[in-house]
């Protein structure tokens, strides 16, 4: 199967840095801000953004991990869904939450994530940051911060690889 590189290591790092700055710019700093990464790769992106913000603003933002399986709209169609832990060690009430995912596609994951967060409290705002927006939305949901827009064909797969889980940093397109 052919594959092409959408973002190489350096481009990926620059993109995460840019998203970090956009978050700080849009929110005029980082007071009242917290980060929630969607399993699995959203967690590592969230940790990198957290680290960037610490370097820039000298502030450790609270970071949570969200497993959206219980909130999926196709849960009854799945053979076996493995449910992993949601760990949000802070009060979401009145927070501005930056929800972080690797690839945005139909919008269904985001919908599930928003519902999951709302069940934990009433945040002031939820903003969405994604590394790749591959288009093809099925719900009226759009990211506030997108690393790169790439309109993928349905048969193409956008794979985000991160050092922490995959051993290397890159974004590739397969099935072209």
């Amino acid at each position: 199967m052919k594959s092409k590189v959408l973002l190489d290591k350096n481009a990926l790092l620059r993109t995460i840095n840019r998203i970090t700055h956009e978050i700080l710019e849009k929110n005029q700093g980082c007071s009242n801000l917290s980060l929630i990464g969607i399993r699995t790769r959203g967690i590592y992106l969230a940790r990198r953004i957290q680290k960037n913000i610490k370097q820039i603003e000298k502030v450790d933002l609270p970071l949570g991990i969200l497993d959206i399986t219980m909130y999926r709209d196709d849960i009854s169609k799945l053979k076996t869904a493995e449910i992993k832990k949601t760990e949000i060690p802070f009060d979401v009430n009145n927070m501005t939450i930056i929800l972080i995912d690797d690839v945005m596609h139909t919008g269904r994951t985001t919908r599930a994530a928003i519902d999951a967060i709302m069940d934990l409290g009433r945040p002031k705002k939820i903003q969405l940051a994604v590394l790749v927006d591959r288009g093809n939305r099925e719900l009226p949901i759009h990211p506030d911060y997108a690393g790169i827009h790439y309109t993928a064909n349905p048969e193409e797969e956008v794979l985000v690889r991160l050092k922490e889980v995959d051993g290397k940093d890159e974004v590739i397109i397969t099935g072209t």
């Binding site: 497993d67 219980m70 799945l78 053979k79 869904a81 992993k84 069940d119 409290g121």
Partner: protein
């Protein structure tokens, strides 16, 4: 892991991997009960019937709460208020309930094998909520969950099970579960309450409770099953409680961080003293708390996805 069972009938047929998968799934569900909004939409549109031919407080409430926290609808049927009193057979009752399209039926019955029979004649998932003196799988799963939570592991534990072994489905399911791990199990009770060939299940029998609890990590107390004629196996309740009732002096012979378990309902002053039941080593109410998480996991695995 791929889960492809329709029913949960007993522990005996489960693999160690399946047991661990259930416990891991339950970990994720445990947090939901601690939130302000104790509900997730996971089983929206599903229906769970509890069909209980024997009395129950914990198991039935626990199943109902578990189902409701997953957004399933629940209907409770007790034998005393059902057509059972008009002479309807279990099979007919089940067939009738099946016609109303429930996704799962939790059944408790005094007849061993009742859930197994049901599972062959209906398409809904069947969960054994206790069948006679045979099995009580969800109790054993919540017991293992509690042991793992408190001890950080199951392998390597020494577990003393004390009381009316011959009539206890809880003991049987726990023995089936624990023998799949590297555990040491010691059973103790009056000889009349220890079934012959119990050792064949992979446990030791020790009639002296003082020796049974020695260096135990877990002491699991059982109730005398009065409804199964338990009292006729002992000279008197008083004598039983003197010899086999768990007191502080027994707890002191176990490991320093021993946990005391009881599936409930407790007969205080018979198999366990107040001092021990309410003491620092007791995890009896943790068991109840964990029961909800384990039953949420079971319901999710059985009826959550595509059959």
């Amino acid at each position: 892991m791929k889960w492809d069972r329709k029913d949960l009938l007993g522990i005996q047929e489960l693999s160690k991997e399946e047991i661990l998968f259930i416990l891991d799934t339950a970990e994720s569900f445990k947090d939901i009960s601690k939130r302000e909004i104790k509900k997730v939409p996971t089983l929206r549109g599903k229906t769970v019937i509890t069909l209980f031919y024997e009395p129950s407080t914990r198991t039935r409430t626990s199943f109902e709460i578990a189902a409701k926290r997953l957004s399933a609808d629940t209907i409770n049927i007790s034998a005393s208020t059902s057509s059972y009193v008009k002479g309807e057979t279990l099979k007919d009752t089940a067939k009738n309930l099946e016609s109303m399209k429930p996704d799962a039926i939790v059944i408790r019955h005094s007849m061993p094998g009742a859930p197994h029979m049901l599972s062959k004649i209906i398409d809904s998932s069947v969960i054994n909520g206790g069948d006679g003196a045979h099995e009580h799988p969800t109790q054993a799963l919540l017991d293992l969950f509690t042991m793992r939570e408190k001890k950080g592991k199951i392998d390597g534990l020494k577990v003393a099970i004390i009381g009316d072994l011959s009539h206890s489905r809880v003991a049987r399911s726990n023995i089936f579960a624990l023998t799949k791990f590297k555990t040491e199990i010691v059973c103790s009770g009056p000889p009349t309450m220890i079934p012959p060939h119990l050792e064949d299940l992979g446990v030791k029998v020790e009639y002296d409770i003082n020796k049974a609890v020695l260096d135990a990590d877990v002491i699991m107390m059982l109730r005398i099953q009065k409804e199964r004629g338990g009292v006729s196996y002992i000279p008197s309740i008083k004598e039983y409680s003197t010899i086999y009732g768990l007191r502080k002096e027994h707890v002191e012979k176990a490991k320093n961080d021993v946990i005391i378990m009881h599936p409930g309902p407790m007969n205080r002053g018979v198999e366990i003293t107040d001092e021990v039941a309410d003491g620092p080593y007791s995890v009896i109410f943790d068991q109840v708390e964990n029961g909800v998480a384990v039953r949420m996991a079971i319901l999710f695995l059985l009826i959550g996805g595509e059959a």
